[in-house]
Subunit: 225 residues, 2 copies
């Protein structure tokens, strides 16, 4: 077929975007390890030559996709925060926005599951820091300076909150709709028909509300007396 091609750099950018789109879709649905380069280039309608012309390899392609995803999430968080006037409301709104944004299963697989494993935790943390965690740390600093939050080191608090939201988002996405696409049979289901306390049941959409409430409580508890 050989595209009739417009201008040079336009075609280049087009190919790059198609590669990013398709690889993001595949990474999100199947996971990094289950996707082969052959599948990516076939979906994108190009060859491995094109891929390696634009990226340094599979990991670099993934990193670029991850940066894109994190930037989107970061923008959503920032937008939700900017919609509020009071710094405290900005914090809560930003956290809630992050929680809901991270509920998307596509975002999860790339940003929260494969991200640390593929790039290493340090590199992943650096990207997360630049995209959204920075906002959190800054907002906490502001609130401490204003005396709204009890004075304390911000770094540990940032990571505690960030981790809490990440894990909660993963749980929410895994519990709703559910029966994951991969992992067909899990074996070892010792038949627990009617447990007295539901340990981690598949759960309902009310889980989102419950989690938001729990997160709100957790944030509110930071306020100085």
């Amino acid at each position: 077929m050989t595209r009739s091609t417009g201008t040079r750099s336009a075609q280049r950018e087009h190919t790059r975007q198609v590669l990013l789109r398709e690889s993001r879709r595949l990474f999100a649905t199947l996971g990094y390890g289950e996707v082969g380069l052959a599948e990516i280039v076939r979906a994108a309608g190009v060859t491995k030559g094109a891929l390696y012309h634009h990226f340094d390899g599979k990991a670099d392609l993934f990193r670029t996709v991850l940066e894109q995803v994190q930037q989107e999430v970061g923008e959503q968080v920032a937008r939700a925060a900017e919609a509020e006037a009071d710094p405290w409301d900005q914090l809560t709104a930003g956290c809630q926005a992050f929680l809901t944004a991270s509920t998307d299963p596509d975002i999860q697989q790339i940003m929260l599951i494969d991200g640390p494993a593929v790039l290493g935790w340090r590199a992943w943390r650096a990207l997360d820091e630049a995209a959204s965690a920075r906002h959190l740390a800054e907002q906490l600093t502001v609130l401490i300076d204003q005396g709204v939050i009890e004075p304390q080191p911000v770094a540990p608090l940032t990571h505690l909150l960030s981790g809490a939201m990440n894990e909660a988002a993963l749980w929410l996405a895994a519990s709703k709709t559910t029966t994951g696409p991969t992992e067909p049979a899990d074996a070892a289901k010792p038949a627990k028909p009617a447990g007295p306390a539901k340990p981690a049941g598949p759960a309902e959409p009310t889980d989102l509300a419950d989690t938001q409430r729990a997160l709100s409580r957790m944030l509110r508890s930071l306020r100085a007396e």
Copy 2:
């Protein structure tokens, strides 16, 4: 060399343990993706035939190692909790124990980084649930029933706290001693010689204390008035 071999099942168990030991060591230091089966069997002094005689493959070997690691962590947590009499003290002691136990970089790479990516988040969560998160949920339930903690759904709270501790532990391990073994050059360090606020500095051993304090505050805030 062909081991002179003691009894049959003893030799079998020996080989299995050696495989687990060496693979755990390699998985922990290099990460799942960077370790080849050839390297594992060479370190264990056996061949791939032995490996596939004991396990269903690389992922199954990893899963077994992960179960072992999580069981160890779970035991540490349980032991710390049992040392206390008051249910509330049991909760805090267990959480602190989990935080310190998870600080070990070896534990991290296997349990927190590669675990979800290799086995999938659902399977990973099931293992975590069985090993240590279950204790957390149970303890929270007890405390709610006793009226120590404000009544609320335990599942979201469990995941929020669990995620907070996981992420905090990763940060602690990454920040202390540091300069990771992999990832030699990171590029794009736009020279920020003296930032006014330290965004996520490499940090000191006091970070552990700070984090424990922050976690304690977070837990204390759960108490009913």
